[in-house]
Symmetry: C2
Subunit: 237 residues, 2 copies
């Protein structure tokens, strides 16, 4: 059973304002929830149609799950976890920085990429979509438990950081012909506008992904696929 | 003005069955429509709230556009184009093959990748989402005009093709340490299940993208990001 008050407290977490106020976020589906249960994230509530063998779990009906789920097709369970405190930002190794990435699916894919390529620091501008947005949480497939995400004033962060700052620009140096360092910040820009003028000033090394084909008419790659290619170039050595 | 009958004829194109029956598809938004107008695709209808200076155009109200649009926020214009006839499949150069990619956004991103990397042949299994699905058309950003897409029985195509067939598998050869040929077929698998057993048998060269980081817990990359990294490896030389 789930009370009206509980329904209200959960559904309000779909909004960033309340997630920040309550310090809580939603994860759905057995696989994603289990990734969080097996991490340092603190479980607050677990509503499920089938048992997880977890003390806090409350078995509810499919119908009740529908009332709290953010998914069009609810997936057996919904859990509420605490948003962890922001850990101190390290400044060595490879760091990924996002300048206003707005699409939750793109952010989720980028968090999975960080996890794959062992990038454990992701720095986001304040305008970047919230990583505890339910769509982002679902798209990360659990990678959110292994990547530390920081929301900062990106411009002042990049001004202070003692590392080379890389960004992709049409006129940049061919990334296939450049040796990428082990430490540095790689900046990815907004879906429609790329890297903003204010952030471009902070970029110390402009790079580019060569374009092939006779027509050369494609305007750009999707931010997540560009990120995939660039992270791969940093890691392949 | 747009008639009731026209509205009916356009909205039915949201379904694959009617797109195939009528041989027509929908494109929306000035930028995407212009890419099709500047290509070999044949325009059938153009309904727009602002002029394109095109003979066939019909100026309609925002309200009428809402009635025919597939977008949550209609974007000034909707055009109907003819689905081109299937061109004969070439069998040299780099060819990308999709084994049941189901998500329209992923297919759109993959078509953009083909365009970027000069892959002009994309071969899809019959189970792959239709490339004239409105969500795919929008996600391609016009790249659909520059990539030839074929829907085939993928298994029999791969059995007959006279090229090495590459596929990503956990146990495959490190792609960073392998020299990729100029000609070959690269197969990408389904979002949830990867490459199917029937198609795996046709793969002559298993490759893998190395995973980094201490935990090595990420299960997989998104199909479009994996495709981005692999196409980049084929092209970087």
């Amino acid at each position: 059973m789930i009370s009206k008050n509980q329904i209200k407290n959960i559904t309000r977490l779909k909004q960033k304002k309340y997630r920040q106020q309550d310090g809580l976020f939603i994860a759905e589906g057995r696989k994603v929830i289990e990734e969080f249960l097996n991490s340092t994230f603190k479980l607050v509530d677990l509503f499920t149609t089938e048992t997880f063998d977890v003390d806090q779990e409350v078995i509810i009906s499919e119908n009740d799950l529908k009332k709290i789920s953010c998914l069009t097709t609810p997936n057996k369970a919904l859990a509420v976890f605490k948003i962890p405190e922001d850990l101190s930002l390290q400044s060595d190794g490879l760091i990924l920085a996002l300048d206003s990435v707005r699409d939750p699916g793109n952010l989720g894919t980028i968090i999975r990429l960080c996890d794959w390529f062992g990038v454990d620091q992701l720095v986001c501008s304040q305008e970047t979509v919230d990583c505890y947005n339910p769509k982002v949480v679902q798209a990360t497939m659990g990678s959110l438990t292994r990547v530390a995400i920081h929301y900062v004033d990106l411009e002042s962060y990049l001004q202070k950081v003692d590392l080379p700052v890389f960004g992709a620009f049409m006129e940049g140096k061919d990334v296939y012909k450049s040796k990428m360092p082990k430490s540095g910040v790689l900046v990815l820009g907004n879906e429609a506008n790329g890297i903003s003028k204010a952030i471009e000033v902070c970029v110390t090394d402009k790079i580019s992904i060569p374009r092939f084909g006779a027509l050369q008419a494609t305007e750009s790659l999707n931010v997540a696929t560009a990120g995939a290619i660039l992270l791969s170039e940093f890691r392949r050595g």
